[in-house]
Symmetry: D2
Subunit: 478 residues, 4 copies
């Protein structure tokens, strides 16, 4: 999750619609969602898949073995050598070496990012049929920037080992059984940092093209899964830099210059001016990253960095326009020039019950603790929404710490029993689900049906939102 | 003068150029001015005109007689019944009645203003040759808005009587001597108020078309005259209203509205933001004349009224653009709409020594007191500059009070000896100068030569200013 | 209701707690409330009271007769001659004359307000025993300020007649039956305007002292009653004027002055600065009522008028402190002086089911239409909360219009069948409830028990809120 | 000079009084100054001192020899290895080694500054009589911060060698002639940087205690000297940091935090708000040096750095109070806490003609070029005013470059003939003046008389300023 926690405790209901207006707009959509879920009949799926299955148990046991023998140790190693986003050189060295040792072909620099990679399993029995199921596992490995040192307070250190255990167990199964299918591992850097928004850049570069399913694990203080639908943990976000240029001049003759810092200050003022004209669920906050060089020179460059958030992306676009106009107005008023750098965005992802409920059942089966019985807010399996709204998938989060995310305590837990047992649960549940998806064509059909249905309802929801968010009519002044 | 005095004491030098940049730009212009003044040779003119002249003395004596018998009394009457600008109905009734009684044809509503008028003397010996000299006298009659009552603290009450004394004495002379020429009286309301800017409106409507000279009197605490040149007492001024419209909404749901008051507030903020980017001689000040109707409704209309001042009109245009952009930026940032109402402007007028030095000599000859020996700052004979930069003329201001302008004491003085004797001086000196202008073709040529020369230098000065006021280069942000 | 409606449509649930924090704080209180309601057992009360009762029917019939014969006509008269708040001279002339004709002693100027009055019924059989039940009826009569004319778009015009019908019917019953008790009518002006906050002023002056019950009627587009509890329709409100004084100066030398308008502008800016530091349910909005006199004089006085709202009064106090500090900071920064005029406040009132459910049953019994079956949000029977949180009572609002409040259509409906039948329902239901309260000691005990219980829970709720609204710790800068 | 030049071209007259108000206040002071100068009779002093004098010529020749043989080469060395302020370790290594080699005792860390030092010449004939003349030479050596590298664009690289040549020549003379007296060299770091304000810190630590005269050289594009009086090149300056602390919180719940960046922004706004209430000669400009860490966390620390300037220190104190109040108001309005760090100030210094005219005559005598004949604006011999307003002294600035200060061209000139010949002139003129001061008791008396006279007039001037800068009366609001 992409924020520093200050004990933020918001009790999410399973509803992604957070405002009365959204709930009004979602009225029909929610009814159709309910019909869709009835048609997919997830309880029956769960029952069938989680029943006794020796073949599955064998694959899962191999994943467990890899964890026990080598990968929990590797997780500890990475935990002990934290590297912040886009600088995870040593961590990916460990991961890619291991993957190569297990028959994966590694390509570095995916999506133009130095510490991103793609590792494709190279079947010795020849390339997979292009129509056969394509499975993908996303790994993350960046540490948090602490005030004194980088630290693995979000346990990304374990995601590589967990995902590799599942991927290698599946790869070996493909080889052994000659089942049609392929398995690919995606190394995604800098989850905690934006810009760049790594997964979005990778997605736009076509890195995930053709995948039928993507899975990922993530640390948690409880064992959870999302409800079916679309949503995101912490509002839709636009990350934007507003860069102003002016003209320098000595403090003694400021009229020969144009003050870029005044422009940035009035960007903030202009935003404050319309806070009461923007729906109260918005969160707009910025910092000043460049605020002038010396007090005796008119600042000719100044930069502000903003996160703009709203529960849905439709009204978010209106909020963004308010903020962009605030910046344009600041430039106009101060005689400076403006560049708007839209460096990143996080959007609603899609969660499907046919994956999340099976995953949840497997997590419980393999010994997950601290179970949150009610499904959580719908949301994608990765934080940007760009991948998780386009490709079905599941994020596994068995309880792996007694502390909240983004704490030094959670880092410590990664090295002890509470962490290790959570990682083991994730590795086994992930393997089981991937095996089911690989081996059962009817299950793949159901997942696709649910995903496509929610995808369509998401479009309908956005259409409805466009209708409820009318802008007021402003007449010409007389 | 168009402002409420707060004991403002600025020692004007004879220089209209008030900033180092202006003085730099005026370097050549001032040299040419000096050459022009040498060529016109005003001291010789003064000497010749003010020499003994029985014909002139007869006309002047008649003006004095009118003052003594009737017009000082009328001045007292108007002083005792003050009427503020554009409501001077009783005052103009007195003035126009008297003018009609003395052979003038009165047309009301000059320039579209209810209390403005034009009174043309109708020669009984037939209309004047169109090429003969056309003399004009401007009258004013509006009182000041005091905190408790209107009052004649600027003695405009005496301008009608003084100007009429001169105009009637000249009219009778035209009749008696059959000299070619005409005399017209212009009643100009609301000198103390803007908008509308009465003389500018009258000028633009062509009311003063064809005049060869215009004269006016005005109260003063000293007997003064301006140096030759161009200038104004109190900076060039743009009067502007910024009118914003938004959309109303209840306070409970302000996002359904757009707040026009926030736009006005940010107009002020945006101006404040660039104060340090504007040369320090500028004076920009506004008030909020409409600031919302009720605190529980989003204000959908708000209005600010500004005076924008700078020593010269060239940089003033840049300042105005800053302020207009401040308003446009406020509208852009708040989602409101803007109307810019440029309701008035005051500009540099022209003063010519061939008129002002003769007038000064006559004022002294007829007994003016409290003489300021050094010529004052160049400036036109009326406050807007629109007329006084286009037509040669002279404002007479013999000392008529012991108190500063815009005081209750100056009103009181209008009713006593100090006022009466000043008004008598103005009436006689005005009559003498008009008689000289009417009767001496060579004098008219000299006045025209000087006026045209200064007019041309004024153009050159503005051209130079355009060169010194370069705007800084602002590169695109990177 | 004290606001101009812009189609405000908020679907209130019966919950007065509007934020997650409030709901958290109210957890125990709501549980105790539920226990209290169970103990009072309102359904049984309703059943008993609304059963057949000839004595009650006689009194109610008398109220209906008064309405039919005279008072509906008087309502029409007042509707046709609308008078805005604190200027309702003709309206109260009609009302007080009628009251005097029916044995009431009228005292004008209650609470220091010219158009407020108290009319005490003077029993001919001697004064009531001081321990006997004291019944009160509140009348209102002010019209709305429309953009073109005053109008009775909230139908206050009918409140006088409705309340008088009930009061007179009860008074005649007291006389006739010699039952112990008294009846008093309170004329309360300017409901739509603040300041002054009429009912609060009257309450503080002790006008309502000793009352055991107070009733009022009000127009509505549906027949409604509130749930038991405490609350208000539209948040708790503080009405405040911020008055700044500076020092005047001419625009040419502004440094000799201090600009009070800049202070007001920075009051707004300072509020905008902390909008994101204030919980999003707050509503803070102001207008500028005095914004300077002339653009060429530094404004030495400026005034802003604010409504500050929050769902509960405990956090409202923190919001108020933010706004007061914004004003103090504006004065400090601009060198001006500040006066804070806290001119009015609206607070949660108390509603008791033992009154509202009986009233609701009677409204239905007497033919009310457009029934809202679910109880509405808890709230007092008058808008300020000052009276309705201190004395038990009930506001009757049978459907009396097809249009929303504050519309010209609702005014028109006051003159036709839809209005008249609604007023008749209110008059009869009010009479019935007053009769029951007067005649049944056990009912009075129950009402008191419920009111005192809720009053105590309200105190507990505020105590809990004080605990949840902690202010952040701000360390000293290093 | 302590600012980055942008082609700033202000033609200073010899008048330190820059505003009409200052000139008004200085009226009597300037008259007394003129009387003082007449009494000191500088022309006669110059004539006597610069007459033929073999003893002086010998000392001067020695200084020249040191320059030619070693010190011009050392200047080149330092020029080629520029070190920015407070990091001039290698530069002072060269200087102090050379001083030690010539009999000076060096103490490092003067005034608590690592790269400051004091080098006292240790007479071999025993310590100087405490009443004998105490001569001091100030050296500087810091380079400018260029955009790409440190550079000696202000030629401080030559000040050490120049000053050492003079100091050593004098030291050897003391030794040789047994004249009473002492010579001390002061190494002052970081002239171009504040904070810390090095010379002020050294002065306050008593480093310069007891000195009778202080001299310094500085590069220049012309040979200049100041008129007698008090003043500074570029207004009196206060350097201040405003440090705000708030409380952090996640962007999702900003009401749990307090935003320190909003406080900084409103500091700027509050200053802008009063710009029109502050005399237009003020220059107030700031930058934001810390503006928040991440856009999703409420900034809990933010810092702004300001230079506040005014022509005189009396009104500067009023301006400073405006800015401090702006900061206090920002803290009050945002609920943050404020620390005001007054890290430095530059003030008027004193210049005496009895030193500057003698120095000027010597510079011409020893071959200075590009002579500015008219005396410049009065100002001290060092930039802070703290030393130069307390101890008589002289800054030598023979033309040493064809380029303006603070340019790469001036750095290049330091290595060629134009630089070298200017440095030679400074070294010789400085030596000559020090020798005269050392050897002529009557000269020392005259210098002291003039300095004390100006010091007293400076006090009188400040007293007069206190009288003219009255603050407006602000009445309580009603």
């Amino acid at each position: 999750m992409k924020f520093i926690c200050f004990g933020l405790l918001i009790a999410w209901t399973a509803l992604a619609q957070e405002t009365p207006t959204e709930r009004e707009a979602a009225h029909d959509v929610l009814r159709h969602m309910s019909e869709l879920e009835k048609a997919v009949d997830v309880p029956t799926i769960v029952e069938r898949l989680t029943a006794a299955n020796g073949a599955r148990d064998q694959v899962v046991a191999r994943a467990k073995e890899l964890m026990d023998k080598e990968l929990l140790g590797m997780a500890d190693e990475i935990t002990r050598h934290p590297e912040i986003g886009f600088e995870e050189y040593k961590s990916i060295e460990k991961l890619t070496t291991y993957l190569k040792q297990h028959g994966f072909e590694v390509t570095m620099g995916a999506g133009g990012l130095k510490t991103a990679f793609v590792a494709k399993y190279k079947r010795k029995d020849g390339p997979a049929n292009p129509d056969s199921p394509k499975l993908g596992v996303i790994l993350e490995y960046d540490a948090l920037r602490g005030t004194t040192r980088p630290f693995h307070g979000d346990q990304h250190s374990a995601q590589g080992p967990v995902g590799m255990a599942a991927a290698i167990a599946i790869a070996e199964t493909l080889e052994r059984t000659h089942m049609p299918g392929s398995i690919t591992v995606f190394g995604a850097p800098g989850e905690e940092m934006m810009p760049p928004n790594a997964k979005t850049d990778m997605y736009k570069a076509g890195v995930f093209n053709g995948m039928d399913i993507l899975v990922r694990s993530h640390s948690s203080s409880a064992t959870r899964r999302p409800a079916a639908g679309f949503g995101t943990c912490c509002l839709n976000i636009d990350g934007v830099k507003y860069i102003f240029s002016g003209a320098p001049s000595h403090q003694m003759t400021p009229w020969d210059g144009r003050n870029a810092l005044e422009a940035v200050i009035h960007l903030f003022n202009n935003i404050d001016a319309v806070r009461s004209s923007i729906r109260p669920e918005a969160r707009i906050q910025g910092i000043i990253t460049e605020g002038g060089a010396a007090p005796n020179v008119v600042p000719d460059r100044a930069v502000a960095d903003f996160y703009i958030r709203y529960p849905d992306e439709v009204y978010l676009a209106q909020v963004k326009e308010f903020v962009d106009n605030a910046a344009r107005a600041a430039a106009l008023a101060t005689g400076t020039k403006l560049k708007i750098d839209n460096y990143g965005e996080d959007r609603d992802g899609i969660s499907v019950s046919s994956l999340s409920e099976v995953a949840f059942a497997y997590m419980k089966k393999y010994g997950a603790t601290k179970i949150a019985e009610a499904p959580g807010k719908p949301q994608g399996y990765e934080e940007t929404g760009s991948v998780s709204s386009a490709i079905p998938g599941m994020g596994f989060s068995a309880a792996s710490s007694n502390a909240p995310n983004h704490t030094y305590e959670m880092e410590a837990d990664a090295l002890t029993g509470v962490g290790h047992s959570g990682f083991q649960v994730d590795a086994q549940a992930m393997t089981a689900l991937l095996y089911d998806f690989l081996s059962r064509a009817d299950y793949r059909v159901k997942v696709r049906q649910e995903f496509d249905g929610i995808h369509k309802l998401f479009d309908e929801y956005r259409d409805s939102l466009h209708k409820v968010y009318v802008t007021p009519n402003v007449p010409d002044p007389k």
